[in-house]
């Protein structure tokens, strides 16, 4: 665990040493620039889960014996921790654990389709949404006949807000990312939620990329729903988090059916359980919740301001280095203004295909993502089939950026 001191500077060497992969992987100098796909895990997270299995494991909720109570407590504590993490008013009731962010979107698109969304209703998305926030709505369009409207983006990868009133008027739902996983853009989500509420829309925020970098406050934003995923905030795979306002969750029908989510079952019908369990069918991700709690604790043990200062400096250094080194050969996607972006840089280098770039970089143990980043509508809009994306976390340092630049030099030499 990192120091809980009041130091404002991030001790990056210390942070890096908290993550076993940088000393234990078979790649001697691993330059991990793919944290937007998934973060690495600090020792405390890995150990918390081992320790859970070694001392406390039992199935939760229905067990009368102490071990089951301990496991239930550990699981429900993780819920409360997750609720506090986003500043939920009722941490123990407003947090639903899913298997990942994607399931959370499916839960909403399905559950809201029963009483809230009707054929012909409009759902507003943006052109920079991850597939997790596109495909569930496309499925609903197919199944129920809702309309999808996509907010457009400008040259800088920022949302065009000019026709926002027209988009929102007569729509039912706005579902929006807080950070684009391709462009790094952080849209004015608070403003948009406010606007949407003026027009009576429900709002969903996708915090998958935002959560690892900046403090979330659902009360301040007044979001109706907010979603993030465990494996991107130092937690394990296999767990996602859906925050929803208590009264909304209460009014919504369940999504998956099975054990845990019911109060009673007869052969001709069933009664759902209370929130949040109503939305958690079957044995939940217990050890994963324990790991997620440790991940959140790790993140909170660092100072958000220190993280932000460090990461902004890294981003700036990366963008400057890329531009200095490759000049007009490189196109950096997303906002020019560094204040408007977070966590990552996507670029196109000459006509070299991102797969080739990533492949060559790998030779130097530089891990970047090449592809459509699960954002095909955006790719189409940018008129590229793929980009190369370097994303950062608090464990990255300046030498990681240098390694990226050195690798890219080899790339450009290799492909003419």
């Amino acid at each position: 665990m990192a120091d809980q001191g009041l130091t404002l500077k991030l001790d990056v060497a210390k942070v890096k040493s908290d993550f076993p992969i940088f000393s234990k992987s078979k790649y001697p100098k691993l330059v991990y620039l793919d944290s937007a796909a998934t973060s690495q895990k600090p020792r405390s997270v890995i150990d918390s889960m081992s320790s859970y299995y070694e001392t406390t494991h039992a199935n939760v909720h229905r067990g009368v014996y102490s071990l089951a109570e301990d496991a239930t407590r550990a699981f429900e504590d993780a819920r409360i921790q997750s609720g506090r993490f986003v500043n939920a008013e009722h941490p123990s009731r407003e947090i639903v654990f899913t298997k990942n962010a994607t399931e959370a979107f499916n839960l909403l698109s399905n559950s809201l389709s029963v009483h809230y969304l009707k054929p012909g209703d409009s759902v507003v998305l943006t052109l920079m949404e991850h597939h997790a926030n596109v495909v569930p709505w496309l499925m609903l369009k197919e199944r129920l006949g809702i309309n999808l409207k996509f907010m457009d983006i400008d040259q800088n990868g920022e949302l065009i807000l000019d026709d926002i009133d027209e988009l929102l008027r007569d729509s039912k739902l706005l579902s929006l990312t807080m950070t684009s996983n391709v462009l790094g853009t952080v849209p004015p989500f608070k403003f948009l939620v406010e606007k949407a509420h003026e027009y009576g829309l429900l709002t969903i925020l996708d915090a998958a990329q935002f959560a690892p970098h900046k403090k979330i406050d659902v009360i301040d934003i007044d979001a109706d729903f907010l979603i993030f995923t465990g494996h991107k905030i130092f937690g394990p795979t296999g767990i996602g988090v859906l925050y929803g306002k208590q009264d909304l969750l209460e009014s919504m029908p369940p999504f998956l059916g099975g054990g845990e989510m019911i109060r009673d079952v007869k052969i001709d019908g069933f009664t759902p359980n209370e929130i949040p369990w109503k939305f958690e069918a079957g044995t939940p991700p217990i050890a994963e919740a324990v790991g997620l709690k440790a991940g959140i604790e790790y993140l909170e043990s660092l100072d958000y301001e220190a993280i932000s200062e460090h990461e902004t400096a890294l981003l700036k250094y990366m963008i400057d280095s890329l531009q200095d080194t490759f000049a007009q050969d490189i196109a950096i996607h997303g906002p020019r203004n560094i204040e408007k972006r977070s966590g990552l840089v996507s670029f196109s280098l000459n006509e070299i295909h991102p797969h080739d770039i990533a492949q060559v970089l790998d030779e130097y143990s530089v891990c970047v993502r090449a592809g459509h980043h699960c954002a095909k509508p955006l790719m189409r809009h940018l008129c590229v089939s793929a980009t190369t994306r370097a994303s950062i976390s608090c464990y990255n340092d300046f030498s990681d950026i240098d390694a990226l630049i050195d690798g890219l030099k080899v790339v450009t030499k290799m492909f003419k």
Binding site: R62, T72, R73, I80, H90, S92
Partner: protein, 156 residues
């Protein structure tokens, strides 16, 4: 065995074995409410009526675990002869006793709750339940059922 002895105090076991005020009131003015916890099958039937002096008459029926049944029996003893308002206060006091633990899980989330343990008399014997979170629902079932009954009574 301290924890367990705390849960299964002699008074509790006695009320389980020999439930007080057992049965149903059959007067035409009586209200009848059923409480059911489908998760463990605990069942409570509360019948209530008002005596001419405005105090409560109560009978209890049901089946389930020692905690749910003794809690119901203990409740009937406390409630019998109370005014409706007084009864409501007792429900609140009892439920506060039972939610301490839940709050400690979520400490900064809810407001502090407090209760006057003195006022509970024999009921204080159920205090041990708070150490056993899964059993809290058993202990409160009768009380939640009573609340519904009081509502009905006042509606009529």
């Amino acid at each position: 065995m301290t924890g367990l002895e705390d849960l299964y105090r002699e008074i509790v076991l006695d009320h389980y074995r020999n439930p007080r005020n057992k049965g149903e009131i059959n007067t035409p003015t009586a209200v009848r409410v059923e409480g059911f916890n489908p998760l463990c099958g605990d069942e409570i039937v509360v019948t209530l009526d008002l005596n001419p002096d405005g105090t409560l008459n109560i009978k209890i029926d049901g089946r389930g675990c020692s905690i749910s049944q003794s809690s119901a029996s203990l409740m009937s003893e406390t409630i019998k002869g109370s005014q409706i308002k007084e009864a409501r206060n007792k429900v609140t006091t009892f439920k506060n006793m039972m939610t301490i633990h839940e709050n400690s899980l979520e400490s900064s989330d809810d407001n502090e709750t407090s209760f006057d343990i003195e006022s509970l008399g024999e009921l204080a014997a159920l205090q041990g339940v708070v150490k056993f979170p899964v059993r809290i629902k058993c202990a409160t079932l009768a009380w939640n059922t009573l609340l519904e009954g009081l509502d009905d009574l006042e509606k009529d």
